[in-house]
Symmetry: C2
Subunit: 204 residues, 2 copies
DNA sequence: ACACACCCCGAACATATGTTCAATAGAACA
DNA sequence: TGTTCTATTGAACATATGTTCGGGGTGTGT
């Protein structure tokens, strides 16, 4: 793919992102600084021949960048590996995690950055991203995010006939009792953990 | 929103999913079983007035279902929380994790399901999903997936002048030496960890 | 030199497409 | 019944849009 072709593809992607639909040929011409629609058409023909673009002939604004199957399916999950097969062989793929789908259902959810070692024994370490699904309710024994007297903390929720406690998962810490006159709020339930350790993927 | 309006919206969404672009007014008419484009235009005007649809007047196929901002930005990350503010207040949001973007760059990567406790001290527990970026190279001290004599394992890679070792992160396990006559292969680098614990989100 | 792929122009063409408008049908209501 | 409002229709209109054609330019490799 030549430099110009990459710029064209990028322009289409950006336009679609901004407007929710694809540009017309003449809009591309303006955006790319060319003056003839036929020039753009020729460029599009080449891109389509390369298979990175889909079009329906005669249909206005039918440009659709080809998306790889993985994007729709999600990221493959490898469970056990059958002896002697390549890792990514079909028989090893146990399923797919549809990250995109997850994103769509993440309404109102957010990541909380873990601060201390109080949940160490649950494998939750400082710097981890904990996905919190906002909710005023939480079941006994579930992990959640709470705000106790202004401070936000991630703990296991425990309700006994002696009252409510927030349990750390680390025997160097003590259970925290929630008293009647404390200001206490359930922020949400712990759904998922994300840990970005090694380089190579820059977020934010 | 009336029944007919919902059907219309659904038709547009389905069409877009199938074709990668939005239907024209006449295509909608056919699909919905009405015979006049002006009928469809009237219906679209109503939907747009309700704010569930965006259009650019005079622009072909410019129908764009209104999407929430989160979908484009990613999932917000909350770091420290300013005293007295609601959790999701703007001043608490430290950034966004563009999961979608990540997916796009995940070329060839996959998740490996962790099996034992050998990496416990790194907070990597059985059942965790470890994202592996395929690579034949790995640096000293990095965590990666390896295949040693047919068996796949997740360990820290260590190269000394005494040879190559795969180090567990659990003092109940011994470092594994990689001998000359072993069949040994670097599968890839450990990039990210995903843990799905609580219910409410069903993957796969 | 030649062939070939890529890039560009401007004009003309055919049609796909959004829009407007007068007329009709149906439902809700006094 | 008549009135009013909305939904629908079919035709006509204006234009946005993809396409074609003939021409030219530049670079690369043979």
């Amino acid at each position: 793919m030549t430099n110009k072709q990459e710029r064209l593809l990028q322009f289409i992607l950006d336009f679609h992102k901004d407007n929710g639909y694809s540009p017309s040929i003449r809009e591309i011409a303006k955006g790319m600084g060319v003056s003839s629609p036929s020039t753009v058409k020729a460029m599009l023909d080449r891109l389509e021949a390369q298979g990175v673009l889909n079009r329906s002939s005669g249909v206005a604004r039918s440009l659709a960048p080809v998306t790889s199957e993985e994007e729709d399916l999600g990221i493959p999950v490898i469970g056990r590996i059958v002896a002697g097969t390549p890792v990514m062989a079909e028989e090893n793929i146990e399923g797919y995690i549809p990250v995109k789908e997850f994103l769509k259902n993440s309404n109102g959810g957010f990541f909380l950055i873990v601060d201390g070692y109080s949940m160490k024994d649950k494998g939750i370490l400082p710097g981890d991203y904990v996905f919190i699904q906002p909710s005023k309710e939480i079941s006994n024994g579930q992990i959640g995010a709470f705000r106790l007297n202004g401070e936000v903390t991630l703990k296991t929720f425990k309700k006994t006939n002696e009252g409510v406690f927030l349990l750390p998962a680390n025997n160097e810490f003590e259970p925290i009792p929630v008293n009647e006159d404390d200001s206490f709020e359930v922020i949400g339930r712990y759904v998922m953990l994300l840990r970005l350790r090694e380089q190579g993927y820059k977020f934010m």
